[in-house]
Symmetry: C2
Subunit: 149 residues, 2 copies
């Protein structure tokens, strides 16, 4: 099954990036400013006004965060989102994967590009204190912003 | 074998996007400002001061452009880069794939994110006349810009 893969290198400690990924406030700062729920291991995070629920299936302090999609777009159900943190070359690399898609549908192409913009938002948040979470996100097709009006 | 997939929707005609992808001037505007060679079918484009050569293996006017990497980073040799153009919803969608990687190495994670930034550069070029080709690109890790000094 095809996976979405990405990597960014962040000028911040693994502790800081892990903190962002495992708190609601942190996830509000880079992905969805309306995120709700519990971002600790065993918790469930609700994104996009209830359109998406991810269960936090695994966390290893300053090393790994894994989520499983339990509610959301049909193509996302049971997909796994993993952030692996690797400190080297004076920065924290985030190795990201969104795995277990059943088919490489066009929506997967879209999500891959969209994830890149959000991971750059995570980098900006950790480095500068300000990311670009929804609805202040980077639009990648014409009319995308109308989804939120 | 894993593939890199992306999609952007561009406020421009398929003709315009096809023109960008099949001319050296066009490719200089979104990917590498130093691109050289021949971007028509059967030609070879040299990117990044000779570090990368792609052969133009297929073009279908306003629909498809395919390149094969014939010289470059080891992981890229014989990989295939495809731009499929799809006009719908008042825009040209570019369905991009970089296929035939042997293994999902860390460099592939990096390239996936980097491609997203360059495809957004292609979108900007077609829509506004100005992209962000190398060396004016979006940096995605700390110290990346030193590659070009």
């Amino acid at each position: 099954m095809p996976d979405i893969l990405h990597r960014v290198g962040i000028n911040a400690s693994p502790e800081k990036v892990f903190e962002i990924l495992t708190t609601i406030e942190g996830n509000r700062g880079w992905w969805d400013s309306g995120a709700m729920g519990d971002a600790k291991k065993g918790g469930t995070i609700t994104f996009f006004k209830g359109l998406l629920d991810t269960k936090v299936t695994e966390t290893k302090p300053n090393e790994l965060v894994s989520w499983k999609c339990v509610k959301g777009p049909e193509e996302w159900i049971n997909t796994e989102i993993t952030f692996k943190l690797l400190y080297k070359k004076d920065q924290t690399f985030v190795l990201f994967s969104h795995a277990n898609w059943k088919e490489p549908v066009e929506f997967m192409y879209h999500c891959s590009t969209k994830w890149a913009t959000f991971l750059l938002s995570l980098k900006a948040l950790a480095e500068t204190g300000k990311g670009r979470p929804t609805p202040d996100e980077v639009w990648i097709y014409v009319g995308e912003e109308k989804k939120y009006l």
